[in-house]
């Protein structure tokens, strides 16, 4: 899975996988593949949640250009 897949997209994928699995319409081999995929995504999501760190910036307009800078810690 690539980095730029959002959490939301991952959850969406998971939802689809679970629904497919629950429909019981998939051949066994594909079911097992889907299951593996699902487990990988869940793992990925967990990792994302555990390693997340809030990014805080301030933005201002300087000479009609938008400038962002990390928040100063006071």
């Amino acid at each position: 899975m690539s980095e730029n897949v959002s959490f939301e997209e991952n959850l969406e994928k998971l939802k689809k996988i679970v629904e497919e699995l629950e429909s019981g319409n998939l051949p066994l081999k594909e079911s097992l593949e889907r299951f593996q995929q699902g487990m990988d995504i869940i793992k990925e999501c967990h990792k994302e949640l555990e390693t997340a760190e809030l990014k805080i910036e301030t933005i201002i307009k300087k000479d009609s250009k938008i400038v962002t800078e990390p928040l100063r810690k006071e």
């Binding site: 959490f7 679970v18 998939l26 299951f35 699902g38 809030l54 990014k55 805080i56 910036e57 933005i59």
Partner: protein
């Protein structure tokens, strides 16, 4: 005639001449001088003109005005002059001078008042004896104007009433009437005052106004020139709030069809508030705890005071230039109605409405409702609540993930079970369960065939055997054995049967086979036939 000449004449206390009449307008003009000394001289001179000049009464309103002059000497001479002229209209104004800060002003006022008391009946009589004066309309109007505008009670006055006949001119000036059950008064609100009103004037509105009575000479009308307006009952801000809310509601700015849905999992959140306020700290703390997967862009914004509204509008526009921002929080911590006022400004409401990015309003406390709250796509009661709303809770996400895990596990297990049982079902088919049944049945089919085959074979062999026996007996009959038995012998030489004498020579060894035994012999003689 110069002013100086007037004074010389006055000081000489000579009987008035015709020229004195002409001097009155000049002296009245002098009461408006910026120079305090001129005003004092004018008052003094007017007081010294003889009472018999009827025109002197024109000067009375001006002298009354001078009773309020900033220079005590002007007040003193004005009082003296009024005492001399003896016009009873002056008495109530003179009474006010009895509390003046200067003793000599008080004394002058006392003297003047006592003169008025004395001259009162006499004065009335005197008015009667005067020849009726004929004013021009202009003079009369001017007189009335002076009279009204010099009355201190009619300036800086407060009056309460109901607004009606509202007319706004292109010039920006506003005209209306203030009325109660009994009467009404015309009012003028000049643009410079109107612009500073933070609520809208409407027909039927109950208001309290402050202003001065002025006479507009061309129409001969008096009206109240308004300096300040306040709503009666409600505070000005409350009223403005209600008015703007009603207006924007009518325009549909609050309707639910315009509310944009909030993203469930935002990646970038814009926060429009003061970077040093309590609100931003609350928001950051909560987001950090709940869902630290986001990027937060703080837009430093003034959220209190005069510049706040335009600052908020600018910030909303700024964030809207960034296409990757998913949602915006606009807000600040609690405060008084005045503190939060910028969130009730129309430009802020419109900026929120026009934002392409969904906006959560987060202003003040639970109970503070602002116009911004009505327009926003979601109203959070506090900045903290906005932070709770804007991001999902990580704990909940763990639960969601867990739920997915369990469900896919169960579903997959179910699929496996399904296949297993299917397999079992297949295994239970007879072909797999008793694979030899088929063979047995073949066997059974085979047996009779085998029997038939065997029978047929045996039969055939018996007949063949009989045939053979017959042939055998025939063969036996024909065999050399039986020939030998009958007494014949067989001679062989070198294992070849000897059939003729030509086959042998004398002394050849030959073998003779008999029915019983064999003989070796030698040819001794050959007989030819």
């Amino acid at each position: 005639m110069t002013i100086i000449d007037i004074f010389k004449k006055i000081n000489a206390v000579e009987p008035p001449k015709l020229e004195d009449f002409e001097s009155i307008p000049k002296l009245i003009a002098l009461t408006h001088s910026k120079n305090g000394n001129d005003r004092r001289l004018a008052a003094s001179a007017l007081g010294k003109l003889l009472k018999s000049i009827p025109d002197i009464f024109q000067a009375v309103p001006h002298l009354i005005r001078l009773l309020n002059d900033e220079k005590p000497q002007v007040r003193q001479y004005a009082a003296k002059a009024l005492g001399e002229i003896g016009d009873v209209r002056a008495s109530q104004h003179l009474e006010k001078l009895l509390t003046d800060e200067k003793d000599y002003v008080i004394n002058a006022a006392k003297t003047a008042l006592s003169k008025l008391e004395i001259t009162k009946p006499e004065k009335e009589g005197q008015v009667g004896t005067l020849k009726p004066e004929i004013f021009t309309v202009g003079e009369l109007t001017k007189y009335i104007k002076n009279l009204l505008e010099s009355d201190r009670k009619l300036s800086n006055l407060w009056v309460r009433g109901e607004l009606s006949n509202l007319r706004q001119h292109a010039s920006g000036h506003i005209y209306f009437s203030l009325k109660d059950e009994k009467s009404q008064i015309k009012c003028v609100l000049f643009r410079r005052v109107g612009e500073n009103l933070n609520f809208k004037l409407e027909h039927g509105l109950k208001i309290i106004v402050m202003g001065d009575i002025e006479v507009y000479e061309p129409y001969g009308e008096y009206s109240l020139i308004i300096e300040e307006v306040q709503p009666d009952g409600l505070g000005a801000l409350n009223l403005a709030f209600i008015q703007l809310r009603n207006k924007l509601e009518k325009e549909g700015l609050f309707s639910s069809e315009h509310k944009k849905p909030l993203p469930k999992f935002p990646k970038v959140i814009g926060i429009i508030t003061s970077p040093t306020g309590a609100a931003i700290q609350d928001i950051l703390n909560i987001i950090k705890r709940r869902y630290p997967l986001v990027r937060i862009l703080i837009v430093p914004t003034v959220v209190q005071g005069k510049e706040a509204a335009s600052s908020i509008v600018e910030s909303i526009k700024l964030v809207n230039e960034l296409p990757f921002v998913d949602v915006i929080i606009v807000g600040r911590g609690g405060g008084s109605l005045e503190d939060l006022w910028c969130f009730n400004e129309e430009i802020v409401a419109r900026a929120i409405f026009n934002s392409k990015i969904p906006i959560i309003s987060a202003v003040g406390h639970e109970t503070d409702f602002t116009i911004a709250d009505f327009v926003a796509d979601y109203r959070a009661p506090t900045p903290s609540a906005a932070a709770e709303k804007v991001v999902p809770d990580m704990q909940e996400l763990y639960e969601v993930l867990h739920n997915f895990h369990v469900r896919s596990l169960q579903a997959t297990q179910h699929i496996i079970e399904l296949h297993k049982s299917y397999l079992k079902q297949i295994m239970n088919r007879p072909i797999f369960r008793r694979p030899f049944d088929r063979i047995h049945s073949y066997y059974r089919e085979l047996d009779p065939i085998t029997y038939k085959l065997q029978t047929a074979l045996t039969k055939n062999m018996t007949s063949k055997r009989k045939e053979l026996e017959i042939i055998e007996s025939k063969i036996i009959t024909l065999s050399p054995e039986s020939v030998l038995k009958r007494g014949y012998s067989m001679i062989m030489k070198d294992n070849k049967i000897v059939r003729s004498i030509s086959d042998v020579k004398i002394d050849d060894n030959i073998n003779v086979t008999l029915h019983v035994g064999k003989l070796d012999a030698q040819v001794k003689k050959i007989w030819r036939r």
